[in-house]
Symmetry: C2
Subunit: 207 residues, 2 copies
């Protein structure tokens, strides 16, 4: 290739950018390391200088995708308002973001979900991040007397698990149902009533 070195020195970041684009264009099944190298105008040997294996490169791309969601989740977690409502918003944002992606670009989302299935490490990191956000909010809620919980971290994991159907890509086939947001609302009502201290009723919603 004659495009050698166009765009500055070869960095992990540039490789990730190219890998991301290539994966989106060709899909995970058709993307080769040679494709990524070609997009950068380098030989595939150079890519291996920065990522030990193709699997590591793919994991790093998945990591990027997952981390792109983190700022808005953290913003919601650190926002104003009642603790329970912020817990709901974190879970809702997590789910809604994925539903939208899955609806707007189903092909890409399927590709992403397949990729993520193998990418244990970044997924664990993502789950950890979300659970940390939930734990923060719940701990604050407990301190303020807005939430009943003996152990915020355990409770955070429980609400995360209880809403798995709405944010775990493995369940994405059920997201096409238009009533999926109603299902979320109904699960949430139950969880909210479980979170609120005894004697406090949920506000702004009937039932």
């Amino acid at each position: 290739m004659s495009t050698s070195n166009a765009g500055g020195p070869l960095t992990p970041e540039r490789i990730l950018e190219a890998a991301d684009e290539t994966l989106r264009r060709f899909g995970p099944a058709k993307t080769t390391v040679v494709d990524v190298a070609r997009a950068l105008g380098v030989s595939h040997g150079s890519v291996y200088r920065h990522f030990p294996t193709k699997a590591d490169l793919r994991d790093a791309v998945v990591d990027r995708w997952l981390q792109r969601m983190h700022p808005s989740l953290a913003a919601v977690a650190d926002g104003e308002g009642a603790a329970a409502e912020r817990v709901r918003l974190v879970l809702w944002t997590l789910a809604e973001t994925k539903w939208t992606q899955a609806r707007e670009d189903p092909e890409f989302f399927t590709a992403f979900a397949e990729l993520a299935e193998d990418a244990r490490t970044p997924v664990v990191a993502h789950v950890d991040f979300v659970v940390v956000q939930l734990t923060k909010v719940i701990a604050e809620g407990v301190a303020r007397g807005e939430i009943a919980s003996a152990d915020p971290k355990t409770t955070a994991l429980a609400v995360f698990d209880a809403t798995a159907k709405f944010h775990n890509p493995a369940a994405r086939s059920e997201w096409v149902r238009p009533a999926i947001d109603e299902a979320f609302a109904n699960v949430w009502r139950l969880l909210r009533d479980g979170l609120l201290p005894r004697g406090v009723r949920g506000v702004g919603e009937s039932g």
Copy 2:
């Protein structure tokens, strides 16, 4: 084959029995209609006389497998004791049964899960059955003042959805974690507190 007609007339039930065995023996990928017919000592044309397509035959086998779980679920739902505890037992039985199958015969359970993925109709029927059991118990609990719910059916679906991670075969990869029953207990505590009427505390458990 010379074994013609051994075992009485060819009925859907006998075909299902043979299909079940053959699927267990060879797995879903390797089982052909000819295999099933051979096990019965008939031609494959005879099988098509009772099931219009191979997919219908497979669905019927999945249906059998799922329905085998129903008596114990109904027994638990119709049992004695507090409504909330019976809701827990239905969900627990549903989950535990599947965990055990998945652990004791992982190959078969994977095969079953793959089969079930395509078998929309029997799975919907199974989910409906479980939700009906839960609805019964919750409605009774509401009548007795043990459970707070504006609409038992909606609440039943919500507790079913909230425990999807524990009974949906799509999530089976997470069932190997030994702490999975702890995760169930933590989700349940939250749901139970959401089900109980305000002013009532869960009994027999701290936190």
